[in-house]
């Protein structure tokens, strides 16, 4: 992979989760960007592990998908050494769905943003908070009293 083309904006590795995100990414990307489409956000880590060693410092990473999926891509990138300024997300319009990080057992599951959730692992009833962790790629689920 050659070094970044310094004549324009930084080149981007765009990781889209799902077909709809892939189509959205294709519309917004430039020719020198690398677009990879995965079926599930769980595949983001595998794709990043394969792609990042081919890149040079200076590239940016973009996560495209639902709010939850884009956040998961961002968390996977940060876990692999990306700095916050190097990662952006393009959430699609269904931002009412979020990934919820259980404050009791740390399991993650999806929920509606405005709903009360039950942790699928430990069963604790959780209130979906507004506290979003970029590292975990999820919002905090607070046990209901």
């Amino acid at each position: 992979m050659p070094g970044p083309d310094v004549s324009g904006p930084p080149p981007r590795l765009v990781l889209a989760v799902g077909e709809r995100a892939g189509a959205a990414a294709a519309e917004r990307c430039a020719a020198r960007d690398r677009v990879r489409v995965v079926v599930s956000a769980d595949d983001a880590a595998t794709v990043l592990d394969a792609e990042l060693p081919r890149l040079t410092t200076g590239w940016r990473i973009v996560g495209v998908g639902t709010t939850a999926d884009a956040a998961a891509v961002r968390a996977a990138a940060l876990a692999r050494g990306a700095l916050g300024e190097e990662v952006t997300v393009w959430p699609l319009d269904d931002s009412w769905r979020v990934r919820v990080h259980c404050g009791v057992c740390h399991h993650q599951g999806e929920s509606r943003r405005d709903a009360l959730a039950a942790c699928p692992a430990c069963g604790t009833a959780l209130a979906v908070s507004d506290q979003e962790s970029r590292v975990h790629g999820a919002v905090l689920g607070v046990p209901r009293a």
Partner: protein, 319 residues
């Protein structure tokens, strides 16, 4: 303060004195890039980088990580005849002399999560870079070194060569530096960090090259050995966007005060040479100490890292 004794002195090259210091007991460990503040007159301290312990097998022993439980501290200090006196004091030291120093302070550490480290040294700036190189060599980390030197006058060049081997590139001609920097930074693998110790011009050149290659500021680290003083009379900065007031103490820079207040502000070189922290000034006269703004740019702008409000003034910033 540590009470230390000079165990040995050497002159590795013209104008540079290497000093070996020992304590009366165990010495504190230190990370690569750390320095001690050596007292050269009562209450006057100069920071000097710690270099790894030399050994017959190379510059560092292989049994312990460099800097861990050291038996000695090693410093190499360039003589500055026109300085305030710190380097002259060191160059006059002889075995048996006693000196006082602060415990090691880490101000220039390697980033533990980096996949690759680009080390750039200019002149006596080789000292912390040597410590970084010894650390990476010990742990088997990926690194490369660019040494900018005048022929025959850089200490530790042989040590650096022993550590880095073919990962060391040397430039004895300043005109060769831009191309070497460009090659190193444009081709650096994902998740690299660059660390520069040298004169302000070299630090600025590295920062500019990194910026052109789209590196973000947090991947660019620098330790100047010619500091622009950032301290002075206390003043207040008013942040226009939030309406907050930040008090800047006598012993800190405006950038330090903003950090303390939790205000995000851009920065890169921290010595008034790269321009990354230049911010619009809405009101107030400024005492400019940077070397990046032209006269026509100074009206309405200031470098947060070194410049201050003029005495008796309050500056209002577009932050």
């Amino acid at each position: 303060m540590l009470e230390l004794r000079v165990a040995d002195v050497a002159t590795p090259c013209a104008g540079v004195r290497s000093v070996t210091l020992v304590g009366d007991g165990p010495l504190p460990s230190y990370p690569p890039g750390a320095h001690v503040g050596l007292e050269w007159a009562p209450g006057r301290l100069n920071p000097y980088s710690l270099t790894p312990t030399p050994s017959p097998r190379g510059p560092t022993p292989r049994d312990l990580p460099p800097g861990l439980d050291p038996e000695e501290y090693h410093l190499s200090i360039a003589l500055r005849p026109d300085g305030e006196g710190g380097s002259r004091r060191v160059h006059a030291l002889a075995p048996g002399d006693r000196v006082r120093a602060t415990p090691p302070r880490s101000s220039f550490p390697p980033v533990g999560t980096a996949a690759h480290h680009v080390l750039v040294a200019g002149g006596i700036g080789v000292t912390p870079v040597l410590a970084h190189a010894a650390w990476h060599a010990f742990w088997g980390n990926s690194f490369e070194v660019l040494l900018v030197q005048r022929p025959g006058v850089t200490p530790h060049a042989a040590d650096l060569r022993a550590l880095a081997g073919d990962r060391l590139a040397r430039a004895t001609d300043r005109t060769a530096v831009p191309a070497l920097l460009d090659e190193a930074l444009r081709g650096a693998p994902w998740n690299s960090h660059v660390y520069t110790c040298g004169p302000p011009g070299l630090i600025a050149a590295v920062a500019a090259t990194a910026r052109r290659a789209h590196w973000v500021a947090d991947r660019v680290h620098a330790e100047p050995f010619v500091h622009a003083p950032a301290t002075g009379t206390p003043f207040t900065a008013v942040l226009r966007r939030s309406g907050r007031e930040v008090a800047v103490g006598a012993g800190e820079s405006l950038l330090d005060a903003l950090d303390r207040a939790g205000v995000a502000a851009p920065r890169l070189c921290r010595q008034g040479v790269c321009g990354e922290c230049v911010t619009e000034v809405a009101a107030g006269r400024v005492e400019h100490r940077d070397t990046v703004l032209g006269d026509d740019e100074r009206d309405g702008h200031m470098a947060l890292c070194v410049s201050r409000a003029a005495v008796g003034e309050t500056v209002e910033l577009q932050l």
